[in-house]
Amino acid sequence: MYKYVLKRLLMMIPVLIGVSFLVFFILAVSPGDPARMILGEQATQESVDALRDEMGLDDPVLVRYAHYMGDVLHGDLGTSYKTKLDVLMQVLDRFPNTLILSVAGILVALVIGVPIGILSAKRQYSWVDNLTTVLGLVGVAMPNFWLGLLLVMLFSLHLGWLPSSGMGEGLVPMIKSLILPALTLGTGCAASIMRMTRSSMLEAMRQDYIDTARSKGLKESYITKYHMFKNALIPIITVIGLQFGMLLGGAALTETIFAWPGLGRFMIESIKSKDMPMVLGSAMFLAVMYSVVNLIVDILYAYADPRIKAQYKH
C-alpha cells in the first residue's frame, strides 16, 4: 500500500508543475504593468523601469516562473501590492474557512445524496424513484448562487432562524452561520452524488453474485450494504472527489453571497482591487489543494477496490 501511495505522490509532481505554470502563465503574463501599479500613476518612467528591472519583469516567462517557484518553495508567495501584507499568511488565514465550508458542503451532499440514491435504486420506477429523478435534475441545474439568495430570503428574512451572512464567533453561532452556505454549496453536489449512487447501485444489483448472495439466504439489508453498496462505491468516490474539488474552486460564489471569510471571496476581492500577488497566491493555493484532493481520492480508490491496489504491486 505504501508503495502505491509513494507512486501516486511521484506522479503528482509533474501535474503540480504543469498546474502552477498554467496559473502563473495566465496571471503573471496579463496586461498591465505591476511596477506601475505599485508606484502609482505619478511615478516617473525611470523609477518604474528601475522597479521592473528589480522585480525581473523583463525576464522571459520561464525564468520568472522559476524565480517565483523558488520563492514558493521557501514559503514566500510575495507581498500584496495594496496592503503590503505577506500573501502566504493572508492565504493561510482564510483557507481554513474555505475548507470548513467545503467539508460541510460535501457532508450535506453525502447525507442527502447517498441514502436517497440507494433508496431510489432499490425501488426503481416507483414514485420515490420518479420524484428523486426530477429533484436530481433540478438540483443539478440549480445555479447555486441563486439557491443561496432564496435560502437567505426564506430562513433569514422570513423565518429569522439563521444569520444571512458572516461567520459567527464561538461554536454554536459558527455552526448556525455555516448551515445556509453549506446547504447552498452542497445541493448541486447532492444531486450529482445521488444520480451516480443510483446508477452504480443499479449496475451492481444486476450482477450474478447478488443472486448467489440471495440464494445463500443472506439478509437483504446485508446484501445491500456489503454486496451492492461496496461494489457501487468506486464511481461514487470519483464523483465525491470531483465535487469536493469543485467546491474548493467554486466556493467563491457561495462565500460572496454569505460574506463568508474564505479564500474564494478573498481572491475575488483581490481581483477587483487588481492585487495580482494576492490573486496569484490564492489561485495557486487552491489549484494545489485541488490536486491534493484528487490524490487523496485516488488513494481512497485503492481502499475501496483491492483490484486497483493490485495493479500497483509490481
Partner: protein, 307 residues
Amino acid sequence: MTSKELVQSKELVQNSEIMRRSLWMDAWRRFKKNKMAVCSLVFLMILVLIGLSTIVIDIATDNAIYDSLIIKQDLTDRFGEPSGAHILGLDEFGRDILLRILWGTRYSLFMSAAAIVAAAIVGTIIGAISGYYSGIVDNVIMRLMDVVLALPYMLLAIAIVAALGPGLVNVLISIAIGYVPEFARIIRASVLSVREREFIEAAKALGASDRVIIFNQILPNVLAPLIVQITMAMAGAILSIAGLSFLGLGIQPPLPEWGAMLTNARAYIRDAWHITAFPGLMILLTILALNIVGDGLRDALDPKLKN
C-alpha cells in the same frame, strides 16, 4: 456484369443510402418518444426565437427600444411588484424585469453556444490529431489537456477573466478554454475506436490523405457523442457565465445578462423578492431544458448507453 448483378448492386447502393439516412431518422424517432425532451427542445426553440427577434428589433429600431426600456433607469418607480402592466415587476432601477430577461437571452444562450462551439471546434481538432497519430504527439497533447483539467473549472475561468479583464469576448474565451480538454478527450477516445475499423484501412489503401481520412471518414462517425457533449457543456457554460457576471467579473450591468441582473439582488433582497426570483428561475429552466435534451439525445443517438 450481367443485368441481374447490376440490379443487385443498384439495390445495394439504394439500401446503403437508406441505412445512412436512417441513423438520424431512427434517432429522431427515438427522441420523439421522450416527451420531457421534446418539451424541453420546444422551450429552447422558443428561447432561440426570442433571442433572435430581440436582435432583429434592436437592428430595426436602431436600439431605440433597447435604450429606453432595457437600459434607461426610471427611479420614480423602483421595485414595482408584479402586476398586469409589468408581469414580472420592476427592478431596482425601475426597469421591466420580463423585458430584461427576454433581451438577456442573447447573452446566456447565444454566448454560451458560441463559447462551446469554439471549444468543440478546437477540442475536436486537437482530439482528432491526438487520437489519429498517437505516439509522442498524443502523449504531449493529452498531458497538456490533463493539466488544464487538473484545475477546477471555475477557478480557471476566474483566473483568465482576472488576467484579461471583464467583458463579452474575455468571458467567452475564459469559458471556452476550460471546455477544450473535455471535447479533445471524447473525440480522441472515439477516434481511437474508429481508427481500427476496416473502412479506414480501405481508405488508406485507396491512397486517401490523413486530412481526408480524419475529416471525411472518422469525424462523421464521432458526431453523435460530440452533439451530446455540446448540449451538456452549454448548460455548464450558461451557469459559468451567470456565475462570473454575478461576481462582477463577467458581463457588466446595465447589460441584461441573467446573472448580472442578480448582482444587486443581494442588496435589495429585503425590498423585492421578484428581483431575485425571476432571472434565477430563467437560468434554472434553461439549464434544465438543455440537460434534459442532452440526456434525450444521448439515449436516442446511442441506445446502447441507456441503462
